[in-house]
């Protein structure tokens, strides 16, 4: 273990001694060289492990990018992102994903519009209104439901919701309306759990001060608590939005997956995620490359959401 000692031993230990003069670490100057080298080697091993996460993100971007970028070169970035025609198997194949992007956004925003108010209301209920006894039951239930696989939500949407909506609308029941409900239910637990954390982390003194001035419970919630938890709630909603736009299996089961620009909320549609599932089994050549191109777009959208949460949290940190 003490084979390599000259260069490392002279410079590195000093740095480490300085490092470890924290309140909870021993001074390593009294430690034998072999122990020191072992400790340093382990520390570097852990650093490598921590870097696996960075490497993983880069690998995903590189591999999906490597497989997908030729389509940008072929059709041009503007035509790929801005084209309305997705006709991969036509004589003159066209790979425009704008309609898919718009469909994804419609599905996501609709689900969010239904789900987010319910979720925030549930969070307020759990943290402010419910008695401890009720909370004890409802909270674990909501948390556990966050773990239910998306394919089960899809099954519920396909076999339970779709017939109801088909009857109400007179169509087949595949379409935005069904997808909105399924996505809303799916993102409910996520948004509710994180919003509730944000509400509960508000010191109770703030509530007491509000009540002491004669505010009612609702005035306290609306004027004091929701503004105070704003950043956390926005984070939760963005997280839910990221989950909804990346959701595949639940949507593919209720969307009907027709390759058209849908002419109504009860008509089948195709999104960025579902086009991959539907087309992948038979896609080849440029078509396959285009699907990887769609995956690049999805990857970048999810990165943008993460970055947005970072920026908002930082702004919130500066405010307070």
């Amino acid at each position: 273990m003490t084979l390599r000692d000259e260069p490392a031993a002279s410079t590195a230990p000093r740095a480490d001694v300085a490092d470890s003069r924290g309140p909870d670490a021993p001074t390593l100057s009294t430690i034998s060289r072999s122990t020191y080298l072992k400790e340093a080697a382990l520390k570097n091993l852990f650093l490598v492990c921590a870097f696996v996460a960075v490497a993983a993100v880069l690998l995903i971007f590189m591999f999906v990018g490597y497989r997908g970028w030729p389509i940008f070169a072929k059709t041009g970035l503007a035509a790929f992102l801005g084209g309305l025609q997705w006709q991969p198997t036509a004589e003159q194949p066209q790979f425009g994903i704008l309609a898919l992007i718009i469909n994804s956004l419609i599905a996501t925003l609709g689900g969010l519009a239904l789900g987010a108010p319910l979720a925030v209301g549930t969070a307020v209920f759990l943290s402010e209104v419910a008695t401890p006894r009720v909370r004890e039951w409802v909270r674990p239930a909501v948390e556990l439901l966050a773990g239910i696989p998306s394919v089960v939500y899809g099954l519920f949407g396909l076999l339970a919701l779709r017939p109801i909506i088909a009857q109400a609308s007179g169509g087949l029941g595949f379409g935005f309306a069904t997808a909105w409900i399924v996505l809303a239910v799916m993102i409910l637990p996520t948004i509710a759990a994180i919003s509730e954390d944000a509400l509960r982390s508000i010191p109770s003194g703030i509530r007491e001060a509000s009540y002491a001035m004669g505010a009612t419970k609702w005035q306290t919630i609306w004027r004091v608590l929701l503004p105070a938890a704003k950043i956390g709630i926005i984070d939760a909603i963005i997280l839910g939005m990221g989950r909804a736009i990346g959701e595949t299996m639940a949507v593919v089961m209720v969307a009907g997956n027709a390759k058209v620009i849908p002419d109504g909320i009860f008509k089948p549609f195709l999104t960025l995620t579902t086009v991959i599932v539907i087309d992948m089994p038979y896609a080849s050549g440029d078509h396959r490359t285009a699907l990887f191109g769609v995956a690049i777009v999805l990857f970048l959208i999810s990165m943008a959401f993460v970055a947005a949460i970072r920026v908002i949290s930082r702004l919130g940190g500066e405010q307070s």
Partner: protein, 283 residues
């Protein structure tokens, strides 16, 4: 809104608003409850020993679903074996060794990003790298490797929280006895944090077991009972999706979905139980 000019009595607004909040909560519970009830009511009749322990046969996949259960457990456990050492040691670095700075911020940002990557993108990536790039074909190993990417940020975060929750004075005691940093971490901190680390692992396994989009492109959809890691297989979520979408055997879809829900809930409930018991012992 809330009695701004004293036009509406604030007590009236209060009662109305609280009623709305109650309605929100009840709607949420009703939605989620009906989802669970629906799966249970439709699935419970299918859950016979013959359904669980026999192979499917015929064009309509009559009979049981045993190979899909075996595939699911196999790929989930394999993914856990792959991810645990890396994720736990990464968390040890972040919680015990790292000095806050740009490096740690980068690692955290990467972990957050990894957690946010849509599973379909993860699936295509797994196909590009493991199935085609590394020549693993559709196999349990390719599926497990892709799933381990999905589990990594979950296990890292929960383990880091678990390590940070270990009281400082326990470390001081260890250092006071002359232990080195690694001795302290490996013999004192990690054992003390182990129940909560296990919780994180169980949560990640629950997530992996229910994942569809990742495994469909890395393990394939062939019904098989994988023995070697290089064998392909069809996991339970994939089976549910295919049965439901092709509409050929809805009974099998319901039964598999219920079994899957039970499995995932078992992971999650065990995780909660461990946290609870641990808290009681410490408190």
């Amino acid at each position: 809104m809330s009695g701004r000019r004293g036009v509406i009595d604030k007590r009236v607004t209060n009662a109305a608003a609280l009623a709305v909040i109650w309605v929100c909560a009840l709607t949420t519970v009703a939605f989620l409850g009906s989802l669970l009830l629906y799966v249970v009511i439709n699935g419970i009749r299918e859950l016979t020993p013959a359904f669980i322990f026999t192979w499917p046969h015929g064009v309509n996949m009559e009979g049981g679903i045993w190979p899909t259960i075996q595939s699911t457990i196999y790929v989930t456990v394999l993914a856990m074996v792959i991810v645990t050492p890396v994720a736990v040691l990464a968390a040890v670095y972040l919680a015990e060794y790292a000095v806050q700075g740009r490096l740690v911020r980068t690692i955290r940002f990467a972990a957050d990003s990894l957690a946010a990557v849509p599973s379909i993108v993860m699936g295509l990536f797994g196909m590009a790298l493991f199935v085609e790039g590394m020549g693993l074909q559709f196999s349990t190993l390719a599926g497990a490797l892709a799933l381990s990417f999905l589990m990594l940020p979950i296990v890292m975060r929960t383990t880091e929280e678990a390590i940070r929750a270990v009281p400082k004075y326990i470390r001081w005691g260890s250092y006071g006895l002359g232990a080195s940093k690694w001795q302290t971490v490996s013999r004192i901190v990690l054992p003390a944090a182990s129940p909560r680390i296990l919780t994180g692992l169980l949560l990640a396994m629950g997530r992996a077991a229910g994942e569809t989009a990742v495994v469909i492109y890395t393990m394939g959809t062939m019904i098989a009972a994988p023995v070697s890691p290089l064998d392909p297989g069809r996991t339970m979520p994939v089976h549910v999706m295919l049965m439901a979408m092709e509409g050929i055997n809805l009974k099998a879809a319901y039964g598999t979905a219920l079994l899957l829900v039970i499995m995932v809930l078992a992971f999650n409930l065990t995780a909660r139980y461990i946290v609870r018991r641990n808290r009681r012992m410490q408190g």
